[in-house]
Amino acid sequence: MKYLFAILAALLLMASAVIYASYPDLRSEVPVIYWVTDRNPAREQQVATFHRWLVEQGHVTENGDPMVELRLDTGNNDQSKKIIQGVSGVAGDIMDTGSMDLSYLSQIGILQDVTEVGEEMGFSRGETYEAAASEISVGDRQYGFPCNVTATLLWVNKSTFEKYDQPIPPQRWTLDEFEERGKAFVAAANEPGERQMVFFAADLPLNVMFRSLGLSTFNETMTRCTLDDPRFAEALARKQQWIEEDRILPSTQEREGFDTAGGYGGATLQLFNRGNYGMFPMGRYALIQLRRFGDLDMAVVEPPHGGFPNTTTSARAATVYVGGAHPELAYLFMAYLASKPYNDLVVADADALPPNPAYTQTEAFKRPADHPNEWGLHEPFSDAMEEIAIGGAYSPFVLPSVVWRELDDMEEAVMNRRLTAEEGGQALAATINSRIERNVHQDPALRERYEQLLQQQAQIDALRAAGEPVPVELIENPFYRKYYEHQGWLAETTE
């Protein structure tokens, strides 16, 4: 038996040696930093460009090599892994985060506050879109810089509209117009009595709808969820009507039923290409897949509104791990994200919008030479970022992931007729507000901030009741900052 053990041990040692020998060299002449990101072939090129950029900028060793080696880590991009590794002290030096994740990870304390260093090194909030500020900040502190930014607009397949002899939607339109045109579209595109295969649009974000009625998930100071408001019920009931009665939009079951393909948006883009969906909501990054279908004849329009035109924006932001060994080198990467070489890559790949808005004014962005059919499709996205895009409302008193889950559950419950739209809104607000109360009750630090913001809210309410303008500094919610401005409710001079 002992010989067997010995043989097995020897075999294992040999296997380990082989694996070690065949593994990429873990040692490096320069410090190595890891970028936890998604599995995207474009990342390789972005890393290579970063190394070249370092040389160009003079961040080199005595031999003239880049002073840092950036390596990809695509196996740990899951949110739970980032949390567990982060609080254990072993997370990647740079982590990609979605907008909601950034808020949570910063609350945990594993993200480096880059407000000051961003100013010094040229990747401050001022270097990106104003609307994206809430996606890379918590309060007045900056925790990341966008790898890319997206504004959601409706992609229109002009061929499908022409096929059914329907007019192309206008750039800006109302919810009523959407409904009217949608009914006409599905009536023209589907045979009566047969299974409906063509829909006006694949979906319409609910939050865009209720925001267009002047309502946000939270109040001005994010101290209370306000989805028990009749405007939320109105938006939800309308969407339900569009799905169940007017059949303008497919139900979740129908959408999921169609979605057998993977990738961004599942099969939505294929169905858009085939003419099953007249429109679908997505950012500029949809072009990555749409280009595979050839030179489609398309247009881009804003989502319909109920009085206040708006759309969502989000960012895939790079953040620096607070426990990393080389934060100063990670900052170089952040600076690179604001640079021309990186932004040019994003522009060329159509991977949403470049983080630096200056690069949306180039010919390469507006009129890509290889894609003449896209001319005129790019500017609406950069324009939307300037005009109608608003970031998410992330209350510091409740986790965004919890809000998202509850909202999703409630929407499904309403669509499955478990609740009416009114009941859904009330139940949702009650649940989220009870979470806020519990969190505030259990966390003294939060309580202090909460009390302060409650006073701020009382001030806003008093000013609004008196019909007086409100100083923008009092408003925490990015939606209301924009909405108040649109309504002319902001005080002209700010402190």
Binding site: I108, F258, G323
Partner: protein, 497 residues
């Protein structure tokens, strides 16, 4: 090692060999368990307590447990978990049936002939479907082809082929099969609906032509069968009580699950309007058996708690059957409104995991599929080989029919195995559902498939409330412990009876 080695040396030699295992258990089992128990009494929240935060942990006593009990979500997810566990009796029955079938040899001249005929029928049917254009979908053809292949495989490969096929789900990676099932459940392009759609269409056409009174007659018959089933169950318990095999307290214990379907029907939205009928059913069923018991007097007496295992087993088995019957009856009762009414929506194929009402049954089907050919089947196969042949011979001499042989010989002999499987399945059921829910439904729609295990994951890793997640884990443990103790007490009695 020398045989003359000192006891001290032998002890340390043994310890050296055992150390890796002991250390592994201590580090990866004992320590986390104890640590999680401590965690359950703290306010550990990742947002406030981690290596980058200064705030220290505080003990909060039972607050986490109280919060959970007051949390509607926790109660709801516990309900989801228990609901999904309804599948356990069916899966045990399925494993047993599979084991019995697989314990028989499929080879042999006569059997071969029969299998070949069955296989040929399938193949000819398939060809017929294709030639006559009646297939409706490629799935029907595929299913027939697969069935034929399996049957013929059994003829040539013997029972080993079937055993392998049945055991296949167990050694296939869970997540991979869940992704496959997710595809199969696709309401538009999934193979299940592709196969079911023509059947539903035909069924709808048939129902549309059937007179409404006939459908309501079937509905009434179903309700009558629920009543008859309840009476039969109580009657059987009374007979056992009469023969001194079951005590009074045990009869009450067995009666409760038996009456549960009728009680539920009084409050269920689909049968609520007939609450008076169900109340009358319960009254008649109970009073009639009580009346007979009083009038006839008991022939043999026994302690009040005697036979509790048997009584409970009969009660639970009948309850499962009655609930199923009640559900089917309600479906039949709703057919006119679904098909024949002027504004009837018609019958449609289910949306499976995308529909609030179908999501749980969809997962239960997957659970059933996975459980039938699991280790349970292997345990039953092993247990079946241990049943003494003399008992069967004695039963044959007594003129027992196949069903009587099963009920009086096989089933009692398998009781210890069934008990073990029931305990393990219950524990597994309470702890399970995470992988499936995360892969197939993400706990939706509207939280309908979020189980306790998934809830613990969300609390721990999505919201970072580690103290609460640990408390939920320990509440789950207490539940598992209580159910196991219950099983132990009454299951053991049943086994020994």
């Amino acid at each position: 090692m020398s045989m003359m080695a000192s006891p001290n040396r032998r002890f340390w030699t043994a310890m050296t060999f055992l150390a890796p295992n002991i250390l592994g258990v201590l580090i990866f089992v004992v320590f986390p368990v104890v640590f999680s128990l401590v965690m359950a009494f703290t306010n550990w929240d990742l947002r406030r307590h981690n290596m980058f935060k200064d705030e220290s942990l505080s003990f909060v006593g039972l607050r986490n447990f109280a919060d959970l009990l007051a949390d509607g979500g926790f109660r709801r997810y516990l309900g989801n978990t228990l609901y999904l566990m309804i599948v356990i009796p069916f899966s045990i029955a399925g494993s047993l049936i599979a084991a019995i079938l697989l314990s028989k040899d499929t080879r042999g001249t006569r059997r071969t002939f029969l299998w070949l005929i069955a296989g040929s029928v399938f193949v000819i049917s398939t060809v017929g479907l294709v030639v006559m254009g009646l297939g409706g979908s490629a799935m029907a053809i595929l299913l027939c082809g697969v069935a034929a292949a399996i049957l013929l495989g059994g003829v040539f490969g013997g029972v080993t082929v079937y055993r392998t096929l049945f055991y296949l789900p167990h050694f296939t990676a869970g997540v991979a099969t869940f992704i496959l099932w997710r595809r199969m459940y696709n309401p538009e392009t999934g193979p299940i609906n592709s196969a079911v759609r023509p059947v539903v269409g035909t069924l709808e056409a048939i129902i549309a032509t059937v007179p409404t009174w006939m459908i309501y007659s079937v509905y009434a018959l179903g309700l009558l069968m629920v009543f008859a089933g309840t009476v039969y169950g109580l009657h059987r318990l009374r007979r056992l009580w009469d023969d001194g095999e079951v005590g009074t307290r045990s009869v009450i214990m067995g009666s409760v699950p038996m009456l549960l379907p009728a009680i539920t029907a009084m409050f269920w939205q689909y049968t609520q309007s007939l609450w008076w009928l169900f109340a009358a059913m319960i009254a008649v069923a109970v009073l009639s058996q009580l009346g007979i018991a009083v009038v006839r007097r008991r022939m043999f007496t026994c302690p009040a708690g005697e036979g509790s295992g048997s009584a409970l087993m009969i009660g639970v088995l009948l309850m499962t059957g009655l609930f199923t019957l009640l559900g089917l009856t309600v479906v039949v009762g709703n057919l006119p409104a679904m098909v024949q009414a002027p504004d009837a929506p018609g019958l449609d194929t289910p949306s499976w995991i995308y529909d609030y009402h179908w999501a749980k049954p969809s997962l239960m089907i997957v659970m059933l599929w996975a459980a039938i050919g699991s280790n349970n089947m292997l345990l039953y196969l092993a247990a079946l080989t241990n049943v003494p042949q003399e008992l069967y011979e004695a039963a044959d001499i007594d003129g027992a029919k196949p069903l009587q042989r099963f009920w009086n010989v096989t089933w009692p002999q398998l009781a210890p195995t069934t008990f073990f499987i029931a305990v393990m399945s219950t524990i597994g059921g309470l702890q399970g559902g995470f992988e499936m829910a995360r892969t197939m439904t993400e706990g939706g729609p509207a939280g309908s498939t979020t189980t306790l295990a998934y809830f613990i994951y969300i609390e721990g890793f999505e919201t970072g409330r580690l103290g609460v997640a640990a408390a939920a884990s320990w509440m789950l443990f207490m539940l598992v412990f209580a159910v196991t103790m219950f099983n132990w007490k009454f299951g053991n009695q049943y086994v020994n009876e």
